[in-house]
Amino acid sequence: MAILIDSNTRMVVQGITGREATMIVDHTTSYGTKIYAGVTPGKGGQLVRGVPVYDTVAEAVKYHQVNASLIVVPPAFTLDAVLEAIANGIQLIVVTTENVPQHDVVKLLYAAKQENVTIIGPNTAGIINPKDRIKMGSIGGDRPERCFVPGNVGVISRSGGMTTESSWMIKRAGFGVTTSIGIGGDSLIGTTIADLLALFEKDEETHAVVTFSEPGTSFEEDAAQFIKEGGFTKPLISFVAGKFTESMPDGTVFGHAGAMISGDVGKPSLKMKALRDAGAHVVERYDEMINVLQNVLQVKVGDAK
């Protein structure tokens, strides 16, 4: 078991003929993940690394019964691509595009909510489930095995790169992951930490969750509230980066667009406190995660499943 993606996932890549998408298709297929179809308007009939390209998502659904879409299109076309996927019954949409206009994000998230469609991102490196060797997105690059090995820890990260690094830390501690998810670096995203904790709670193979956070937004505060209400009962190990930003002037952005502190909202120290109060293991230094994982999971290094 894992969350969001498994062997029943039938992926289509919207924008498959682009430079970035072609690289992702290369890495994904060599990892062993099957991509059923691609969509680029006007390029129907072509093949990209053996994957058939269609003009519309409707055709990809008709011929391949795709049920999940990876969107790798430029910012100006992202809203329309998401609306097309929703209109054709796609249930899971991973939006990799960075710098999507906020008003478009508002629209696409709203449209998805009306139809109960799950959106990961925008601005995400994606999701990976190493047991089923399936990934959606650039996550893991050309060698996903380097950092993502099957195991019993879930990873939720606001940074794509730190999704990979955190999964590698888990491997270093002697464990592996069920599913690792980069939720996207923006402040307006489809699926938040609390949403994913709810899914990990239900996933029997997941015994603990690691989160990597940054300044800005109230995702961590919301997650803490969710835990307090009993929505998530497994061990949570959390790290919040960017404590130095608290001594910088208000409203300045470091790192991702979502990482803006305004007043008290978004301060790492307050996020850490909220999570700690909810019972999470909040580590001060990132490297402490290794020891905490070993203690929490009470499994000797090397004994991990």
Binding site: Y110, G161, M162, G251, A259
Partner: protein, 399 residues
């Protein structure tokens, strides 16, 4: 969010049918003419920061002489790190009541929200907390305009009636049109003035435009400073240079923020990894000379340009390069760019400590290039924090 100065936002509001006070912009008090000042005026520092009133950067003048004196006072000010180069001169409106309205995106509900109150002159955040019944918080459905009946309901709930209700309804619908038309992150009118002759005028405006949307707004060219949210003061010369390096090629990112003092040049990434790396150095008791963030597979030219910028800051005696294990950034390209920069600047890694922690795509070739140049290289055998500790240890020898 791209900041827009008040004269620009007022001009846009006016073009879109929102009544605003007559206004002009001066660069020195000499430009004020007696003719211009036949009526009372408001003088405002034209700087891209809020709370100017509190800072004393908004002044009222009844006469020409008074206006000259007050304009000079404002020109001598620096408002929250921004020296005043321009002053906005506005007609003083005949105020009956001061209202407030803002339109923004609710980060919780992820849809647009209008906040309105007829209790002017106070902090709206406090009002929401203390007297929520005096504030209307109204969410608007995406894909739809603000219908006149909705705007009317907002004001009616606040007790507005008669001609002011009709005027305020029309103004709010137009404000919402502006909000969506220009991809605003915020449009705040404080105060929205009800004049003694029952007109509704946007007396002060704050407008922020989403940087990501500028590609579809050629009409805003020059009015919005792209990337201005990343700074709390005007950009330094070095920062401006680095913006050029970043903008020269769309591939990858290279962002640079200068810090006060510091001895360690900081070249890390990506968004999360750079925050972690900066915290790691601070925790070890040292101060980086800058913050930077690079990633997303930048080309060699961009890497070299950023590295040179970081190294050119006075007082920098070492360089720390660290990234999370990369998903797409090519480590050999990073290595080539950095080595090129130190060679062109004649830097010797024997006397100028450079510690690198880079792993991911093409890292074997990257390792070879770094080590051949005499640079201390770590791959995935070390954590970012361990590499930071190594950097600090090496700095002890040079500072």
């Amino acid at each position: 969010m791209g900041r827009m100065l008040e004269d620009a936002s007022k001009t846009l509001l006016k073009q879109n049918g929102v009544p605003v006070p007559g206004h002009s912009v001066i660069s020195s008090s000499e430009e004020l003419t007696a003719d211009q000042l036949s009526t009372p005026k408001v003088l405002k520092a034209l700087v891209p920061v809020g709370k100017r009133g509190k800072a004393g950067a908004i002044k009222f003048a009844e006469t020409f002489e008074e206006a000259k004196v007050k304009a000079e006072e404002i020109f001598r000010m620096t408002v929250r790190n921004y020296p005043v180069d321009k002053v906005l001169v506005e007609e003083k409106v005949d105020i009956d009541k001061e209202w407030y309205v803002s339109i923004t995106i609710d980060p919780q509900k992820k849809i647009p929200v209008i906040i309105a109150t007829t209790e002017g002159g106070i902090e709206v955040e406090d009002l929401v907390k203390d007297s929520p019944h005096q504030v209307v918080v109204y969410h608007v459905k995406p894909f739809e305009p603000l219908h006149p009946y909705q705007a009317k309901e907002i004001w009616s709930r606040l007790g507005v009636t008669g001609k002011p209700l009709v005027k305020a309804t029309s103004v709010l619908c137009k404000l919402y049109e502006v909000f969506t038309k220009y991809d605003c992150t915020i449009l705040e009118i404080n105060p929205l003035v009800l004049t003694k002759d029952a007109n509704v005028i946007a007396a002060a405006s704050v407008m922020g435009v989403d940087d990501s949307s500028l590609f579809r707004h050629p009409e805003l060219e020059g009015l919005v400073e792209s990337g201005s949210e990343r700074s709390w003061r005007p950009l330094t010369e070095l920062e401006k240079e680095m913006v050029k390096v970043n903008d020269a090629d769309y591939r990858g990112t290279a962002r640079y923020t200068e810090m006060d003092g510091g001895e360690i040049g900081f070249m890390c990434g990506g968004g999360g990894g750079s925050l972690l790396s900066f915290d790691a150095l601070i925790n070890l008791g040292v101060r980086p000379a800058n913050y930077s963030e690079t990633g997303g597979n930048p080309p060699e030219e961009k890497v070299a340009g950023l590295a040179k910028g970081i190294l050119s800051k006075e007082g920098v005696k070492g360089l720390f390069v660290a990234h999370n294990i990369s998903n797409n950034t090519q480590i050999d390209i990073m290595a080539k760019g950095i080595v090129r920069a130190i060679q062109e600047l004649g830097i010797n890694p024997q006397t100028f400590p450079i510690v690198v922690r880079e792993a991911g795509v093409n890292d074997e070739e990257g390792k070879r290039i770094f080590e051949e140049a005499g640079i201390t290289y770590f791959g995935e055998d070390r954590t970012i924090e361990e590499a930071a500790a190594e950097m600090v240890k090496k700095m002890k020898g040079v500072s």
